[in-house]
């Protein structure tokens, strides 16, 4: 229950502690100095509108990804092969919800309300990571998501712990600590399957074959085509380019795949002694663009599920609001 100006939630929030000021007339005095000194910008500091917009877009998109990301894994909670694995998977999916909430909170400090962000997602105006539009047909896909998708996420997110916007950086510190559990649980699932029956080994290999290229594309388009990268790097939001992070990820994967006893589906993957890195093959950026456009295998299903969950939860949100109002009224009576 909002007590003042409910029609303007952002403005209302802006008056409270550690919340953004949304008045557009503010100068950006001091901003460049803080960025140049590699300092941190905090919610009530002056900042260029474009910096605020970029962060709202990036953080809310990141939050939406965590929330939508619960679906491919949630698919296997009821069918996890043991009670222990089910409990672990539930904890992991709960973490993803938590990560989404940390990030929505961070975005809210910039003066955008939770409702605005949710509405943008439900209306299809906001994006989430296209990786979650791929299906999880087998239990091994849960392992592949943990190892490859969460592994790529960690590569992306560790540098974000030093992002120039304080609340985002702090959320990322918390998230990164929890992600390493996710990556290890995925690795463990694949390792168990890889050393199981020939059928299980085959299932693990096929899941890795499915997720390898999409996980490499999670870092975004090649540097030459990445439109927002240069400005984000100048603002210390982004610390490394898409291709640098992708390379780091590939270099990390090769020895890990060896430990798993699984191969990576890339005939061009080879150590390049001159560069001191692994070379890897061309990625199918047409596929990436198609999935972004909404043509992935699960885009429609993911959004339909998210909208249904939101609609079916409406009565809970309303009941909690009504209950809180009733209790507050009762307290008011007894105090009078």
């Amino acid at each position: 229950m909002t007590q003042t100006t409910p029609q303007q939630p952002s403005r209302d929030r802006a008056t409270s502690a550690d919340r953004a000021r949304t008045a557009p007339t503010r100068t950006t005095d001091g901003f460049d100095e803080v960025i140049a000194a590699d300092g941190r910008i905090e919610p009530r500091d002056a900042m260029p509108e474009a910096y605020r917009r970029t962060l709202v877009r990036q953080i809310s998109q990141h939050a939406h990804s965590e929330i939508i990301g619960m679906q491919p894994e949630g698919n296997w909670i009821t069918r996890a092969p043991s009670l222990a694995r089910k409990a672990i998977l539930m904890a992991k999916v709960q973490d993803e919800a938590g990560h989404g909430l940390y990030l929505y909170s961070a975005a809210e400090t910039l003066g955008t309300s939770r409702d605005e962000m949710t509405a943008a997602l439900l209306a299809g105006k906001a994006r989430y990571s296209s990786i979650f539009n791929y299906p999880t047909p087998t239990w091994a896909d849960i392992g592949a998501i943990g190892w490859l998708v969460d592994g790529a996420a960690i590569c992306n997110q560790v540098p974000l712990c030093r992002c120039s916007y304080g609340p985002y950086a702090r959320a990322m510190v918390r998230i990164c600590k929890e992600e390493s559990f996710h990556q290890r649980q995925g690795f463990e699932i694949l390792l168990t399957l890889s050393h199981g029956t020939p059928e299980q080994h085959e299932m693990a290999q096929r899941a890795v074959d499915r997720w390898y290229a999409p996980s490499l594309m999670m870092f975004g388009p090649p540097d030459a085509e990445s439109t927002n990268s240069a400005q984000s790097m100048a603002w210390n939001i982004k610390r490394f380019s898409n291709d640098e992070l992708r390379q780091r990820f590939v270099d990390m994967l090769v020895p890990q795949a060896k430990a798993l006893g699984l191969s990576l589906p890339d005939p061009d993957l080879a150590w390049n002694p001159e560069r001191g890195h692994y070379d890897y093959g061309e990625l199918d950026w047409d596929e990436f663009a198609a999935v972004l456009r909404g043509e992935g295998q699960c885009n429609v299903q993911r959004m339909a599920h998210r909208r249904a969950a939101h609609d079916e939860g409406a009565w809970v949100r309303q009941a909690a609001t009504a209950h809180a109002a009733k209790r507050a009224a009762r307290r008011g009576e007894s105090a009078a």
């Binding site: 909002t2 209302d12 502690a17 409702d115 609001t321 209950h323």
Partner: protein, 105 residues
């Protein structure tokens, strides 16, 4: 507080208010700001804070306060609030050097 705009069976959907969460990591330590969350009331805020910020034993006690009720200094006041401390280096023990080498000082 009453809810005069509510008719039976129909509650307008409004965003739950925002709460700031403070967690005491262990006995003997102060509560530290952990983050924020939405909840309909204080009791729900404590419950949500438990689920959101203490999933791995990060705390032994939680404070929640409505974000709208927190009062903060403004970045514009930074100079008048904090500059006066800048030229009072004698408030630090390292300012005094005459006692160097004297035992117990």
């Amino acid at each position: 507080m009453s809810a005069p705009d509510q008719t039976a069976g129909e509650v307008p959907e409004r965003e739950w208010p925002l709460w700031e969460v403070f967690v005491r990591p262990a006995r003997g330590l102060s509560h530290v700001h952990a983050g924020s969350l939405h909840a309909a009331d204080a009791q729900m805020a404590i419950g949500n804070a438990r689920d959101l910020y203490t999933r791995r034993g990060e705390g032994v006690s939680i404070w929640v306060v409505r974000s709208a009720d927190l009062v903060a200094s403004s970045p514009d006041e930074k100079d008048e609030l904090f500059d006066p401390a800048g030229d009072k280096v004698y408030r630090h023990p390292t300012f005094f050097t005459a006692s160097e080498g004297v035992p117990g000082l």
